[in-house]
């Protein structure tokens, strides 16, 4: 008897993995519901300035993104001057009008008045370029704009 007991290996009980798929599916559904598809891959450096008097931009489908910044290290072949990025492409200031028109055309008529242009501009950019962009936006009547910023600490914003 004693011999038998000694020979028996002390096995750690196996953890049942039967519920693993359930757990992973739960996580999966959480991420599917709580996140949105990433739209653009950035080709520019985009360090946003910080502010605390901000409003949330929650209606993702009503936002037109205009990115401005210096080309990131992978795209140095286009030079190091500040560039505008619209929909995965480098663009010029004059392309903004066409971009806004195209974005408008892709939305239903009832949503068009609520479109917001989100200006995601690197903090190093000079105001001259920003002014030019705003002038273009004015000319196509895209008057609702949002200077997208990072949230500064100690904010008393209306989240």
């Amino acid at each position: 008897m004693a011999k038998l007991k000694n020979r028996k290996k002390i096995n750690t009980p196996e953890i049942s993995t039967a519920s693993l798929p359930d757990i992973v599916f739960m996580l999966l559904f959480f991420f599917m519901v709580a996140t949105v598809m990433r739209k653009n891959t950035l080709m520019i450096e985009n360090r946003l300035p910080s502010a605390n008097q901000v409003e949330k931009l929650d209606t993702k489908n009503l936002i037109m993104n205009v990115y401005v910044g210096r080309p990131s290290s992978r795209y140095r072949n286009v030079g190091s001057e500040a560039r505008i990025q619209l929909n995965d492409k480098f663009a010029e200031v004059k392309d903004i009008k066409a971009f806004i028109m195209a974005e408008r055309a892709s939305k239903t008529e009832s949503l068009r008045p609520f479109l917001i242009t989100s200006l995601k501009i690197d903090k190093e950019i000079r105001m001259g370029l920003v002014g030019d962009i705003k002038k273009e936006l004015k000319e196509v009547n895209a008057l609702k704009i949002n200077y997208t910023t990072r949230l500064k600490d100690g904010s008393n914003s209306n989240k």
Binding site: F25, K123, I145, N146
Partner: protein
């Protein structure tokens, strides 16, 4: 009679499949929402309209190419801008404003409704500075609006704004009415110009 058993599907790889999907979603989606300062641009005008604004009703803010800030010709730090703006907006120079608590300085603005902030930024000034200034201006407006909102309705302006997204239509309507009322007490009048040299 033999019982017909449907062969059971091996669920062992289910976890792997789910993991694969999970990782796909983790990589392709973003969770963060954007925050920002909202602004309304002025509509384009073909011919400039001549308007007459008294000089005392204008707060001149200028940013130069070295990111220095000047208010009415005096160099100021960004942190001081908020209080200067509040003092200007809330001045109530000709005693027509019954909710202002400013100094009633004859040389500063008459009424919040008439007070205009003129922001002149040099083409070479940085966007970071510009946003910092915009942020200070918003802070000044929000502080004044909060104060009035507390006085009139007992809740802060921020709470009213949050109620705009509430589910009950009556509350939403009320919040909208209150928001418009408070915005009319301290309307945002900011004129922006870009300086070309």
């Amino acid at each position: 009679m033999t019982k017909r058993l449907t062969p059971s599907v091996n669920a062992g790889s289910m976890a792997d499949i789910a993991f694969l999907l999970l990782i796909f979603f983790l990589v392709t989606t973003t969770i963060e929402t954007d925050y920002g300062i909202r602004r309304q641009l002025s509509p384009p005008q073909d011919d400039p309209i001549d308007t007459y604004i008294k000089e005392k009703n204008v707060l001149e803010i200028a940013i130069n190419q070295n990111d220095e800030l000047a208010v009415e010709g005096n160099i100021l730090s960004v942190e001081e801008l908020k209080n200067t703006t509040i003092a200007f907006l809330d001045n109530g120079g000709n005693a027509s404003c019954d909710y202002c608590r400013g100094k009633n300085d004859k040389k500063s603005s008459d009424h919040p409704d008439k007070a205009v902030i003129s922001l002149v930024s040099d083409r070479e000034s940085s966007y970071e500075m510009y946003v910092a200034v915009q942020n200070e201006l918003m802070e000044a407006y929000n502080e004044l609006r909060n104060r009035e909102s507390e006085r009139l309705y007992g809740v802060s302006y921020e709470v009213i704004k949050q109620n705009l997204n509430s589910n009950s239509p009556s509350e939403k309507h009320l919040a909208r009415e209150r928001m418009l009322k408070i915005q009319s007490l301290y309307p945002e009048k900011i004129s922006e110009t870009s300086l070309t040299r």
